[in-house]
């Protein structure tokens, strides 16, 4: 579904993405992880050309994104759902209008767009908040509206740019649940930039570790986190072990028993 070849992006003298190669298959969920500033967000934003890459090739459903005309790019963007870290909802519009916006602008009749929007909101459990403005919703609710907005087009590729990074832990869960459901039951490909190890372990089909603009390790979650070959992978492994040990010890100390 998505093939990235030799992708490079520089900001002045800083090489944000360095000759990156990556592919995501239809129905596959790939999590990109790595330390802050390693080029994850830049990579994902170059896919729908929110950031213009310097060189390389990006193929989405066989279309070369970098050679598209402005008009074709707009059409292609409608086939790619994008969920932002900061939700990026239009402040003056209601949840329903936010979801409808892209549809109406792409020529979908208003009634049909409204129906699709309600359906998308229902999928994320937000149909009851359809008339609410972003300011009237919590962060998690806003993010779920953002997900509904991306889903409304029924995209072939979903790009997630740290969707839970701006949320507190309680709200993270409601977003992760939605993402997990989408990953399970949708056929579209998902490329997720995240720091959520649990999500990556549990949901991702493949983990891609990045450092300094390059992929340093790639593989199944069990491989990457259990037998890492890169220093970054080793750090993630240590982190997982630390969290597990700490959690277990703490739970045991409090008389609780871990489940699963």
């Amino acid at each position: 579904m998505l093939t990235i070849k030799n992708l490079t992006k520089r900001f002045g003298s800083l090489v944000a993405v360095n000759n990156l190669n990556l592919s995501v298959g239809r129905g596959e969920t790939v999590a990109i992880m790595g330390p802050s500033g390693c080029g994850k967000s830049t990579t994902i934003r170059t896919i729908n050309r929110l950031i213009e890459p310097d060189s390389g090739e990006i193929l989405v459903a066989g279309s070369d994104m970098l050679s598209l005309s402005a008009e074709d790019l707009k059409k292609m963007r409608k086939r790619i759902g994008f969920v932002f870290q900061h939700f990026n909802l239009i402040g003056r519009l209601s949840a329903e209008e936010n979801v409808m916006l892209g549809l109406v602008m792409s020529g979908v009749p208003r009634e049909a767009a409204q129906a699709k929007a309600i359906e998308a909101l229902r999928k994320v459990g937000m149909e009851s908040h359809a008339a609410h403005k972003p300011a009237q919703m919590s962060g998690g609710q806003q993010q779920r509206v953002g997900i509904a907005r991306a889903l409304a087009f029924e995209p072939e590729l979903m790009l997630w740019d740290e969707p839970t990074a701006s949320l507190d832990p309680i709200l993270v869960r409601e977003v992760l649940v939605v993402m997990e459901e989408l990953a399970k039951y949708r056929a579209s490909a998902m490329l997720v930039v995240t720091h959520e190890i649990a999500f990556a372990l549990h949901v991702a089909d493949r983990i891609v570790l990045m450092d300094k603009g390059s992929i340093v390790e790639e593989g199944l979650p069990s491989d990457v986190f259990v037998s890492p070959i890169s220093p970054i992978g080793q750090k993630y492994k240590e982190l997982i072990e630390y969290q597990l040990n700490t959690s277990m010890t703490t739970l045991a100390g409090r008389g609780l028993k871990a489940t699963g």
Partner: protein
């Protein structure tokens, strides 16, 4: 040819496509429509504001001055006094201008206007020049203005040149008369159709003359510009043979302030003439400069010592100049010259005695004047006695002259008598002179010897003959007789000799006497007597002089001599300097009215010669300018006000339109620019930062929109700002756009996240602008226009 044709077709194709893009339903077209509507509304508003103001002022003006030529005089008085004013004005025109018509006009800003239409017979020069006098008794602080038409007004004419100009103007055909109209010259014409011709002739007349202005930089101003101007004008006449040259300094002659300043300058000179002059001979090793202060003991009981504080009893001297020989001139700023007993001076630093400076010598002109007047008074008291004595002497001299003629005659007679006596002596002794007494004496001697020999012989004979004794006696007697005759002859010879000497003496006396008499006869005794008579008369008059009065006045003058201390004088002079310096009226420039054929280059040496330095600037200006009549001027002012109001309104609207309608667009442009921004380093970074103001897209956009809006509104609303040329309008508009663009993001902070979301959703530029950017911006015309296009309202 084919190539060019093809190229041409391509160019047209490009233009056609560009136009199509622009006219298609795009956001660019929205901006175009916005600009057009903004310009239309802005121009309309600006025009409306200016027209409304113009209409208001025009109506006010019409109420104020009536129809053309209807009224001749305008009197403005305080509103609360208008009844009394009306009554008084009516009384005046009944008395002075019978038949004149009075109309009460509108009251504006607390002043009521009264219009007066004069009968023709009163429309004469005297009437207009006496307006102040005629209406001087009106209560309420009224002012009188002239409305008579047709009339020309010439302004900028130096006061001193007015009379000459008016004389010449009144010779022009079509001119009824010219009059002093405040600071201008008013020219009343015989008819309106003469205006152009008279105006041309007045211009020609003024072109024959020029005003040469002589300006002085600060610090080089002349002491008395009025006198200097007179001197320069005089030299121009004498040296350049100028047909006409007169000091007409605008603020000079006939200007009360200048007279006052001139008087003050003279007062300053007067005071300085009475100020004590102090000279200081510096001690070795001391170096004083102009402005330094030295102190002397004065009337202080303590002898000055370095380090002690200066007291008010000390005498302070400010150094005013350093002579070429090193001696310093000074002026007493505290105390008085009479208080200088100890002449040792010390430098003053921070109000404390410092090092020993030298010795001072003071000269007090006031004291000298007082002494001189006292001595003169004493002298005057002696005058009557002196006159009396002189008159007595004169009388004696007259009497002497009265006897002068008699004396002269007596002397003449005496000389004549002497001459006669001399002649008589000469006649008497003339015979004696002719006798040869020497020969006779020799013969008598011989005879005597012979007789002696005979007598000796007879003596012998007597011995022989005693009878010869008688003969001997006879012979002896005869011999003695001969001796006597010889003695007589010798005496006679002496007499003749003495007679000749006497004659010679008499001749000398007579000759000298005649010479003296001739000299004395040259003396005009009569004239001398007349002169003495005059002297007597004058001495008599001198005796009539009221000497006690003169003496009293001299004593009064002595008493009235400035009883000022030197410190009073120095303080007064400084105060005068401050006042004179504060009066920028004279002193900075001198104006000389002269013929236009005199060049400033020719005048320059004369000015330099009179001023004493060449730190002056000369330039030639016209004698004056003809200004439109009051009504025309008012309408001109109104049109300027209208233009300014239109221009100011256009500026305000441009700013509002930029802020309300374009800042959101500028913000979006800025965001897009920053997405691509690559931070340059080193010299490139410096160049980028320096040129960013004009290179950044949102700033270019702001400048273009500002320039277009303001220029179009200025043109359509006929706006105008004083001193702002037309080319400055788009520049100003661009500048406004530049300023607004700098604050665009603060004015319309469009969220970046929403823009990115729009892009990610596949929205076009137009859709992003219409659905996200403009609705997030400030509520303005753009939002109103955009509202029709917004899908989600």
């Amino acid at each position: 040819m084919h190539f060019w044709k093809k190229n041409k077709e391509n160019r047209f194709d490009v233009i056609r496509k560009a136009l199509q893009r622009m006219l298609a339903d795009t956001f660019n077209r929205d901006i175009l429509v916005l600009i057009l509507i903004s310009i239309m509304i802005g121009s309309l508003v600006a025009s409306s504001v200016s027209l409304a103001a113009n209409a208001y002022f025009s109506k006010t003006l019409a109420n104020l001055v009536g129809d053309y030529g209807e009224y001749d005089l305008l009197i403005q008085a305080r509103e609360e006094m208008k009844d009394d004013t009306a009554q008084q004005v009516q009384k005046i025109i009944d008395d002075v201008f019978p038949g004149a018509r009075l109309k009460e006009g509108p009251t504006i800003t607390g002043k009521t206007n009264f219009f007066i239409a004069l009968p023709d017979q009163y429309k004469v020069k005297k009437t207009y020049e006496d307006l102040g006098k005629t209406f001087g008794s009106i209560p309420g602080g009224a002012g009188v203005g002239v409305l008579t038409e047709p009339r020309l007004t010439i302004r900028g004419v130096p006061e001193g040149a007015k009379n000459k100009l008016m004389e010449n103007i009144e010779q022009i055909a079509g001119v009824k008369f010219a009059f002093h109209d405040g600071s201008s010259v008013g020219v009343v014409l015989q008819s309106l159709d003469k205006t152009a011709a008279v105006s041309d002739q007045i211009k020609n007349l003024m072109n024959q003359y020029q005003v040469i202005e002589i300006s002085f930089p600060v610090g080089s101003e002349p002491g008395n510009p009025i006198r200097l101007g007179e001197a320069i004008a005089s030299d121009m006449t004498n040296q350049l043979k100028a047909d006409y040259a007169k000091n007409v300094s605008i603020d000079g002659k006939n200007d009360d302030m200048t007279y006052m300043v001139s008087t003050m300058m003279e007062l300053k000179r007067f005071l300085l003439a009475y100020a004590s002059t102090v000279t200081l001979t510096e001690d070795a090793g001391v170096k004083l400069a102009k402005g330094d202060i030295v102190a002397l003991q004065g009337i202080s009981s303590s002898i000055p010592a370095a380090g002690s504080a200066v007291a008010k009893e000390n005498v302070l001297v400010e150094i005013t100049a350093v002579q070429a020989n090193g001696i310093l001139d000074g002026m007493i700023t505290q105390g008085d010259a009479s208080q200088i007993v100890n002449n040792q001076a010390y430098k003053v630093e921070q109000n404390t005695f410092s090092q020993y400076a030298g010795t001072v010598t003071a000269r007090n002109p006031r004291q000298l004047l007082s002494s001189a007047l006292t001595e003169t008074s004493k002298f005057a008291s002696q005058v009557p006695g002196f006159a009396q004595d002189a008159q007595n002497m004169s009388s004696i001299a007259v009497n002497a002259l009265d006897n002068y003629s008699g004396s002269m005659n007596a002397v003449n007679q005496l000389l004549t008598n002497l001459q006669s006596a001399g002649n008589t002596i000469q006649n008497v002794t003339g015979g004696l002179t002719a006798i040869d007494t020497r020969s006779i004496e020799n013969q008598l001697d011989n005879s005597s010897h012979a007789m002696g020999g005979l007598i000796s012989t007879l003596q012998v004979l007597k011995l022989i003959n005693p009878d010869v004794g008688s003969t001997i006696d006879n012979l002896s007697n005869t011999q003695n007789g001969l001796k006597n005759i010889k003695s007589g002859l010798s005496a006679m010879d002496n007499v003749a000799s003495q007679a000749r000497q006497a004659k010679s003496t008499i001749d000398t006396i007579v000759a000298n006497g005649n010479s003296t008499v001739a000299a004395l006869k040259a003396f005009d005794a009569a004239a001398a007597k007349n002169n003495l008579a005059d002297v007597n008369t004058k001495l008599g008059m001198l005796q009539q002089v009221n000497v006690p009065l003169i003496t009293a006045q001299l004593q009064y003058m002595a008493a009235a001599a400035p009883n000022l201390k030197d410190e009073d004088i120095s303080h007064s002079v400084k105060l005068l300097d401050k006042f004179i310096a504060g009066q920028a009226i004279p002193g900075e420039r001198i104006q000389i009215l002269t013929t236009s054929n005199i060049s400033t280059d020719a005048v320059q040496p004369i000015v330099v010669s009179n001023v004493g330095h060449n730190n002056v600037t000369l330039y030639s200006t016209s004698l004056g300018v003809i200004e439109p009549n009051a009504r025309g001027q008012l309408y001109q002012v109104l049109s300027e006000v209208k233009a300014v109001l239109a221009g100011m309104t256009a500026i305000v609207i441009t700013i509002f339109v930029l802020i309300l309608d374009h800042t959101a667009i500028m913000t979006y442009m800025r965001r897009k620019r920053l997405e691509k921004k690559v931070k340059a380093r080193g010299w490139r970074g410096l160049v980028f930062r320096l040129t960013a103001v004009f290179r950044n897209s949102e700033r270019q956009y702001g400048m273009c929109i500002g320039a277009i809006l303001l220029t179009a509104m200025f043109i359509l609303a006929k706006g105008g700002i004083p001193y702002l040329p037309w080319i400055g309008v788009p520049v100003l508009g661009g500048f406004l756009g530049l300023i607004v663009s700098g604050y665009a993001e603060k004015i319309s902070p469009v969220p970046t996240e929403e823009l990115i979301a729009g892009e990610a959703l596949g929205l076009s530029f137009d859709e992003i602008m219409r659905e996200i950017v403009i609705p997030e911006g400030r509520p303005g015309l753009m939002q109103k226009l955009n509202w029709r296009k917004v899908k989600f309202k």
